[in-house]
């Protein structure tokens, strides 16, 4: 073996070790979450854990149904607000505005993704929450407040991926449609949108993952009550905020139950990401 070959081999091995260590960290985290969390689920029964209504960890009562429903409600609320806004924005920027405008606006929108979530939460507390309290009643810290802030937070994710997939539609589709006598709007709705569908759905699912996983902003504006909210003006607690709120003080089974909450969250997000992957790979074929 020459010196050169030996170096080559060495670099190869080093890279392999580094690459593997990155993956093994992930595996380690996964293993750790399940290792810490499963005992308490088994002990109190998966049914009681998933469908229990009472979360009083100091009294050994671990039911996370209110939090699961809370996460779903807040996420759906965010999508209801985020999807129309972001799709309208991406269609406008790709189909109805100049290339120049798009080149300026797209990076600006992507920049929004860089604003730390605590800042969104702070704006929510200072402006949105008092607004809701004064105009709609209730404590202001509510499903509605969380949905609005999360809806704004997921805009950059959805817009930027949607724009890319709308732009990826071949030019001949547009030309063909217009040549057949369709108006520009008809072209968008009947030709371009369906052609870009998989990319747009992927963008929505990724936005959804962002909304479910968001913690800091939600803790600040959702009120964190462990109740299944009866209206959108009621406070709500999500799975993520449950973990972040209580982890500081928790010990023993309480801590394990928080890890178990993490398992549920982990599974939900895994499923969402897999769905996104399947849809986007289908679109490519």
């Amino acid at each position: 073996m020459t010196q050169l070959e030996r170096n080559e081999k060495l670099i190869q091995i080093t890279l392999a070790i580094i690459a593997f260590s990155a993956i093994s960290f992930l595996l380690l985290i996964t293993f750790f979450i399940f290792f810490e969390g499963t005992p308490v689920i088994i002990k109190y029964g998966i049914k009681n854990f998933l469908f229990g209504l009472d979360w009083y960890p100091t009294e050994k009562s671990f039911g996370i149904l209110p939090m699961i429903i809370g996460s779903i409600e807040v996420t759906v609320g965010a999508l209801v607000i985020g999807i129309p806004l972001s799709l309208a924005c991406s269609i406008t920027l790709t189909e109805f505005s100049s290339k120049r405008l798009r080149q300026i606006l797209k990076p600006v929108i992507e920049l929004l993704a860089g604003i730390p979530s605590v800042v969104y939460g702070f704006i929510g507390v200072v402006i949105l929450v008092p607004f809701i309290r004064d105009n709609f009643g209730g404590p202001g810290l509510s499903v509605l407040a969380a949905s609005i802030i999360l809806g704004i937070m997921i805009l950059p994710t959805i817009i930027s991926i949607s724009i890319d997939s709308l732009l990826a539609v071949p030019k001949s589709y547009r030309e063909g449609s217009i040549a057949l006598g369709a108006t520009k709007w008809q072209t968008v709705v009947m030709v371009i949108f369906p052609a870009a569908r998989s990319g747009i759905i992927t963008s929505i699912i990724l936005g959804m993952g962002r909304a479910i996983g968001e913690t800091m902003a939600v803790i600040m504006i959702a009120g964190n009550a462990i109740n299944i909210p009866r209206s959108i003006l009621d406070p709500v607690r999500t799975l993520t905020s449950n973990i972040a709120l209580e982890v500081g003080y928790s010990t023993g089974e309480h801590r394990q139950a928080l890890f178990a909450t993490g398992i549920i969250l982990f599974i939900i997000i895994m499923v969402l990401n897999s769905v996104a992957n399947v849809i986007s790979s289908k679109g490519k074929r």
């Binding site: 009472d54 100091t58 009294e59 500081g248 003080y249």
Partner: protein, 263 residues
Amino acid sequence: MRRLIIVIFLLALFTVGCDRIASDNAVIIAGSTSIEPFADKWAEVYMEKHPDAIINVQGGGSSAGVQAAESGVADVGTCSRELKPEEKVLNEIIVAYDGLAVILHPSNSISDLTSEQVKQIFAGRIRNWKDLGLKDKIITVVTREEGSGTRGAFQELVMKDTRIFKGAIVQDSNGTVREIVANDPNAVGYISLGLVNEAVKAVSLDGVAVTDENIISKKYDLMRPFLFVTKNAPAGEVKNFIDFVLSDEGQGLIREEGLIPVS
């Protein structure tokens, strides 16, 4: 250039490492986030007087503090509630008393509640201000999260065996509870007496106002001890520090900050 950056980075790492080694003889204090600011104050003044002493104050919560003392991770664990029976094996020193104040928005015309009323409000049985003779508005109940020492003390002193109802808004610090009550005219919450300011109104309980005198004379019920717990009888630097905390000077420091001295 790049090499230089790497060298600087490594040096930085190294110095951080050294710092850790040098602080081996540091006294580590960990636990209650309610006690943390006061422990910080004590540590700051103590270190000014003893330049070679290092006192390291950390948060983590009362239960974590007790655990840290038990496992030896911390030299002193701090705890802002009474010790549970199974925790009594540890050595406890009361370093101060703290009142818990039930707080309302300043615009609220109520200035006195009975402890039964407070209990009913937090249990979710009184949900509307009209039940207390005010206008028809839903009460915004604000509590602390499970495991918090402040909540533990409130549970023990006011709620007893009754649960705090599930619709209560949960916040993870005294400061955010105060913030919400200060901004919401319909809110009620409870915080450490030392943190009450003019943005909120502390109500008197069963006709007894929340004042230092009433707390010292034990007229005001909502009071909890601030504890230092150690695994063994304190010795060396730890003992010196605790002696300082209990000295007139140490106690004077917390009186300025709104706590009630032990003696």
